[in-house]
Every structure is written in C-alpha cells, then in structure tokens.
Homo-oligomer: 518 residues x 2
C-alpha cells in the first residue's frame, strides 16, 4: 500500500483519462501526464534534493493541480506531506513549521513574500515557488528529474507516515494529526462504501486541500475518476456541476443552503449528480427535504474528525426512511459506524451509556482509519488514543439501534444555573423560525446563572424577524432554561475555510479570554 | 482487523436481523444469536479445549449454519480454519489432515463414520460431531462455554493466519493456500467495490463453503446482509431467489445456463436481483445476451484463484458497453484489476508482453489480497510469490486498455505441429454452434503432430448435431491448425463441486499419465 501510487493504475490503464480539472487556474491534466509529474517530483525530492525517508515537505497554496502533485509525489517516495492552512496568522505558521520541521517548503507564487518572511524564521533546506510558469522553481525541478518510477516507491509500506494535518486551531493549540498510508486508505474504504463510488463518477472538491476532505478526492482518484478543484462559491459550484457533469461532492449544510438560494437555481442542469455528502452537523429537516427535492440524487451525512476521518454515516436509506416517516428523528443523527469503524458512546470510565436517546456520553472510535498519533505530542496522543480507541471529545446520545446524535463538542457545552445546555439543541430550535438562515449559540458570562445562552443569527435574504420572534419560536421546542436570553443579528458568521462556524471568535470577546500569543 | 468479529457489529446494531438462512437444513439465525454462538465456540476452543493461538481446526460438512460458525469462531480467537472438500477420497483427506495437523476436527453427522476412520489415521486432539441436536457434541460444547467476548479476540491482528484452503487437486498435488485476516479482508474490499454491495442486499451462496467464494458470503455479512445457504440446483436457486428476495449471487456460466433452462423460468419473480457475478471463464456472448435479457439486474465477471481471491473484474459498464457495440470483444475478457489489485501479463522474465491482444504471457498479480504463502511449502511459495507478485500459471493476452483475455491455464495449452493452441479459443468457436451447451477441449497424443485437438461436447436438451457439424462451425472462427480433429458427445462433463470442468479427467485416459498415489 503506497498512496502515492494511486494515480499509477489509471495512468497505466487509461492514460488519457482526465485526472484533475483545476477550475481556479483553468487547467486540466490527464492521469498519464499527472503520474509522470508525480514520478518526477518524487525523484527530484529523493534523488536530486537528497531527502531521506520520513522527511517532511510543507505546502502553502490554494487548491490547484500542483497541490495534488505534492501530496502524491511526497507519498510516492516515502516522505510526509505537511499542508498548511493559508488563513492562519504568520506567527501560527511559524509555530507549525517549527513543529513539523519540513526539509522542503513548496509555495504558490501568491504566497511568495509570506514564504520569504517565514523562511527567515525557520530552518528549511529548500523553498520552492510555483507559478504555472515553465521557468518557475517547481517546473525546472520537475523538468530535470527522472520520469522513471522512483526506486524508493517500492520501499514504502502501509505503516509509513504520509500526512500531518494540523487541527484544533479553532478550539485550542494546534496539533498535528499523523496519518499513515494505511490509515488514510482505510478511511477511503469507509467513504467508498458509504458513497457507493463507481468508476463513472466525477467528483467536485469543495473544501480546501489542507483539510481531511482532500482524502475523499484522492479516493475518487483511486477509482480512476476525474476530480474537479474549485474554491467554493455557490453559483460557481452549480455552474461547474453542470459543465463538468459532476456526480458527487461534499457540502456542509451552509453550502447546500447557499446553492439552493442561488438565483435561477432551477435553470441549472444538475442531472449528472448521483450522491452528495453533507457534514459539519446535521441539516435541519426542512433543509433535507428541500435538498432532496432540489438535487436529483441521494444524500448521505458524514461525521468525522481529522483524527479519524469520516467515522459515522447517515445512509441514503436512512434519509429516505426518515422522509417517509420511519424514524424521522434520525435526520438529526449523524448515523452509524462506517464499514471499517466501531463506535461507542461512553461515560468517563469508558463504559457505554444506555442506548436511550437521552444519556449523553463521549463518542469513542476504534478504526484502522484513526490517526496513529499527534506529531511529537506523546502525552496528548496517550490521552486521545487509549487501547486503540480514539476519544473524540464530542458529546452524543445514541438510540437503541446505535444511531448517534451529537449534542455538542465537549468544550462548547453551556452550563447555566447548573444545567448542561447543548448549543446544537438550541440552534435546532432557532431554525424552526422560517426566516433563520444560520445561527451560532454559545454561553456568555452571567452573574446570576454563571452562563447565559446567547444566539447570533443570520436571516435569509429579504426576510425579517425580531429577537423576541426568534426566542418565542425557539421556546416552543426547548425547556425554559435552554432558551436564548439574547439574540444578535449579523450579516454573516465567521467561518473557517471548511465553512465551519468559528464560534470561538463570537464567544471569546465576551469572556475576554487570554488569547494564546500568536 | 479480526474477521471473526464481522458479525459483532450487526449483532450490536441490529441483533434481530437475519444473518443466515440455511435452506438445506431449514433453519434461520439472527445476527444476535449467531454472534453469541460464535463467542461461545471461540471460548470453548481456547478456554475449555485449551487450544493455542495458530492451532488449526478442520471442518468437514456440507453447507450449513454451523460451518459458518466454525469459520467465525475460529477466526475470533486467533485459530486457523481448515475446511475440507467432502468430495475428496479418504486417502486424500488423510493426507490433507496430516499436512494441516488440526487440533480439533468438527464434522457433520453425515460424515460421522468417515471421520471415525480418518481419526484412526491422524493425530487429532478432539473430534466434534454436530447433528442439529441439542445433545450432540457441538451443542453441548457451546452450551457449557461462556457467552462473553473471548479475551483472545483482542490479541488477533490482521497479519495472523486465519484460513488454509487446499487447492490444486485437479491439476496436481494439493497445496494449502494460507490467508490472513488482512488478505481475506482486502479481497472482500475488491468484491465490495466490484459488486457495489449495499446494506439492503440479500446474498445467496451457491458454492460449497470449503472454497474461496465463501469469503464473498462473509463479505456480505460484513455489510450486515443476510446470506442464504443452498446446495446448488437450478430450480431450487430460482425458488430461493423468489422466496428470500435474493439480490446477489455468484454463478458459474453453467449455473446461469441451467437456471435459464429451468421449465417455467419466466414464471419466477426475480425482481429482487440487483447484480450477479459469474466466473469460471467468460460466458459466450449469446449467453451473456440471454442472461441480461432474462435476469433483471446487472452482471459482472470475476476471475480469481484461491491464492489471490478475485483479481480482475469485467464491470457492469463493460457488459453494457459490449452489448451496445462498444468493444464487444471484451465479453471474452475477464476484465481489469480489482480496486486493491495490480495485474500484469508478462513473459518468463517478468517483463510485460505488448498490449496488442495477441502476445500471450503469464498473469501476475500484486495485491494485499494475495495469500501469504502455501502452508509448509516454502519452495512452492517462493516459486509462486516473487517480489510481492503472485504468478498465477494462467496464460493471457491483454489489450491496449489492459483488459485481460485468458487463453489458457499454463498447463492446458495444446502444442500441435509446433503451434500453441489455447483450448478456450477452440471452445469459444465450438459454442458458435447453437446446439452446444458445454464443451471441453484438450490435446490428445498424435503421432504426426505431437498433439491433436479433441473436443468433448454436451448438446442442449432435445437438440442434435454431428461431429462434422461442430467442426464445420468451429472452423469458420479458427485457423486451420486450431480446429478440432475429433468431437465426442457426452451426457455431462465431469466437474468439481464448484462446477469447474475437470478437464484432466477427460484428458488423462488418453495420456495414461501416472496418477499420484492417493
């Protein structure tokens, strides 16, 4: 098992088949050409630059073909990829680069100046800039390297580390989840089974490539499918689905909402769609119904973490059943364990909590798709991976059939007057108001109750509602202590590049918490 | 990865779901009950009988629920299953048991006397008879064992051996292909992707459980599907598909032919079928067309060996394309590599032969689904597994897109007048005569040419043809030197329990070859 050889099979069998469609840079590349460039890059890194097995190669770029080449080229020859989130501050990037200690740092021209500044603060053997130009560092390196299969590719085993993904920037100090060829591959198997991938699929990658969903795109490539790269924007996504005959993609709830809100949505030809997966939390029932009516395909929901890839799925049949009135409440569930995965919801001693749909516990996951640990964080690794189980920090209840309902991130729980309040429950209630597009609920300091429930709401375009309206509707679905005490209206919520709402940015000003010095 | 825990997930999530339908013995068992019996068996073997990790457990029985329990129970606690072909001679069974050295021998009541005789000739710690009777050895063993999860199950890793499948009885001295939990699991991944398994499937196991296709049934169980066990008979198979709402099965060409020939075929409700896989050689185009019209589902073809499970597949789309006139010749191909598999067609030095559809070479396979070796046959293992590649002994050509066309088993090639003649090509030509149901072509001694091409033919019921008719039709599709020199007509061809034609039994009398002393 060498993930870096994923492109080799299709390059051999169907060399002319389209591998990547790079929409932002208006480029396309076939499997045959891509695989040759990957071999050249691997040879350049190991033979020409002299890197040793296990050395790290960092990359800083928006989505593009070269980014995917770096993933595969690095994997092909036994190195470790270290993709960086370009939204991080310079100080945080320095910290990650000092932690990951890459031997080589590959950067798109857009970040040339930033990279030069970073280079002054870290110890990196070589900085390589690419600019879609035959004379750039990267192209010259490839041109002078051998196109043969690198001899190092045969020495790679499934247990070799291949990827460090930094995570946790929104909830605490970043740490690098370390994956091997095997762990990523097993995560792909989970996805293959859940998404029911077929070789005729065309996949659109909606997320940024420094996040775990990039493994989904690599998985479609393992099936010989073309992958379309975009920087997500709702109208663009619809245009690309129509033009490239996209059959599958991953969308967080907000993306789906925005796509359906695009003017003239009905006019787009979306008939190529076969299935899409949504994540980042359950979709409100009204949105699922709207999506199933609007998109001519099946839906699944996935729940995962960088540490374990996608761990549970709400299946195609679960969605159909729920809309037909069989266990409709399961639309609020993130489903059941993936094909290669075991899941438990447990108390702090690791004993499963009752499957009563009421008793909260922590989600723990046993899977060969789990990371092997945090990079250079043995204590944190030992806390998180115990006896083969990944402790996710996510709080859930589960029902008698093992469907998992996430109630909150462990750290996001609000405690008001001694009662635990899970913000997702409050958000779900707020979404019962038809004018609500998005919401974020969190706790703010309160002299009487310790914490008070605050909601920040984005209304749908052209719609109106008052704070009192929102609280009244939400109150119909909540216990009195759970209802929001205050509601603020904003134009947009702060979000990570994945689309995940950065609740911390909303909450922290109220708490005047001491930000880590970045 | 512990294959013995395949039933545990569904037992936990859907304990009442049907796991096995045992048609021959008219019994059914749920995942919850099955998993408990598996845990009891594992505890009985390790704790009560004191077996050590890696000990072998032999089983001799026709298809039944207990057989599946033995597979899983043995795997669950780190032992190795050694299933025996009940069609073998007593002397051959003794040889295999001496080779495999099982500590325990589990036998259905049908083979009680045979087992007693065998026990006199081998050194086995315990013989366990089962008879679907609460007072039989097996049930008493289970009743007295703990139903808890065996402590040994957590010590099993993917690299532990789990199954010895004896193979080669039709072409030479039997040898035991040794599979690990991981190799079988990776073979299942190949099948999962190729068959596009969904959790709503119902699988019918048409083969006997001492053969590699049993892993397909276990795979459907890994997806939580019910598996229906039968001893194949065409009319029964149709009745069972209708009654149990079977969605998938594996049928060799002959089975499909016989099913379509059942009187009143049109009256059966086969609407539950989603896909079936055929193997044991390509189906003639006329049969594929008839099958696609007769069965309301997709078809795939698989090619495999006990040593590597299913290695190549001709996909659903390949069939549809071929019938639509796109590469119709590929209906004679066994397709392209499975998801986890690499395939090459090579010359004796291991160099790929040209992809010209003409140059024969040997099929070699690199896959984590390959066996890890032959049991206690290091020399044969070294000959067969070289640098991670399995040398199959099968001769094929491949086309420019990597589609593999098997021309013959290496040992079945006919050499006549210095020309290589591949019997499958001759058989395909013979099948152009509409009266031909089955055929077997092989070489017989010829003073002038070294070998002469002989055909043995079974005609369709109620149809007639002469030897001259057959030769004339075949000649239209063959070079002169390839056409049969003689044709014999028989009522039936000798076959292995899998349905594979035992060409050796037809050919050997002509060659008076020295049979091994069994």
């Amino acid at each position: 098992m060498n993930l870096g050889k994923i492109t080799a099979k299709t390059a051999s069998l169907d060399p002319g088949r389209e591998a990547l469609v790079d929409v932002p840079n208006d480029r396309r590349i076939s499997y045959g050409d891509l695989d040759e460039r990957i071999r050249r890059l691997a040879n350049a890194l190991r033979s020409d630059l002299g890197l040793a097995k296990g050395n790290r190669v960092a990359i800083l770029s928006k989505n593009c073909i070269q980014y995917m080449e770096v993933f595969y080229g690095v994997a092909r020859c036994g190195l470790i990829a270290l993709p960086l989130n370009w939204r991080l501050s310079e100080a945080e990037l320095v910290r990650l680069l000092q932690d990951g200690e890459p031997a080589v740092f590959i950067v798109s021209a857009e970040y040339r100046e930033l990279a030069a500044r970073l280079q002054g603060q870290i110890d990196v053997q070589k900085l390589i800039i690419f600019a879609d130009d035959p004379e750039d560092d990267y192209e010259r390196l490839l041109a002078s390297a051998s196109p043969e299969e690198p001899s190092s590719s045969a020495t790679v085993t499934g247990d070799d580390p291949v990827l460090i993904l930094y995570t946790g920037g929104t909830t605490g100090l970043s740490k690098g989840a370390l994956h091997t060829h095997h762990s990523l591959y097993m995560g792909m198997i989970n996805q293959t089974v859940a998404e029911r991938i077929v070789p005729t699929d065309v996949y659109m990658l909606t997320g940024q490539m420094f996040h775990i969903p990039v493994a989904l795109a690599m998985n479609y490539m393992a099936h010989g499918c073309p992958v379309v790269l975009i920087n997500f924007e709702a109208q663009l996504a619809l245009e690309v689905i129509q033009r490239e005959r996209v059959s599958a993609f991953l969308g967080i709830t907000t993306m789906i909402n925005w796509m359906m809100a695009v003017e003239g949505f009905q006019e787009y030809d979306l008939s190529s769609l076969r299935n899409f997966q949504y994540g980042g939390g359950p979709m409100p029932r009204s949105v699922v119904e709207a999506a199933m009516a609007a998109f001519p395909c099946t839906l699944i929901q996935g729940y995962g973490q960088t540490e374990g890839m996608t761990m549970t799925f709400l299946s195609q049949e679960d969605h159909q059943d729920a809309l037909a009135g069989v266990h409709p409440e399961r639309l609020s569930s993130c489903g059941r364990p993936g094909f290669v995965t075991e899941v438990q919801v447990v108390d702090p001693e690791g004993q499963p909590v009752p499957r009563d749909g009421q008793t909260p516990g922590e989600i723990i996951v046993c899977s060969e798709a789990n990371m092997v640990g945090y990079w250079r964080r043995p204590e944190l690794t030992a806390e998180t991976l115990r006896d083969g189980w990944l402790w996710t920090g996510d709080i859930a209840v589960w029902d008698e059939d093992g469907y998992v309902f996430i109630v909150d991130r462990a750290k996001d729980m609000i405690i008001s007057g001694g009662e635990n309040i899970y913000s997702t429950q409050v958000e779900a209630a707020i979404h019962q108001h038809p004018a609500v597009l998005e919401s974020a609920v969190f706790g703010v300091p309160d002299d009487t109750w310790g914490e008070a429930v605050k909601a920040v709401v984005v209304l749908k375009p052209g719609q109106e509602a008052s704070a009192a309206d929102i609280i009244e509707v939400a109150s119909q679905h909540l216990a009195s202590y759970q209802k929001p005490k205050s509601v603020d209206f904003v134009e947009a919520l702060p979000k990570a590049p994945t689309g995940k709402i950065l609740k911390r940015e909303l909450r922290d000003p109220y708490w005047q918490v001491e930000e880590r010095s970045v």
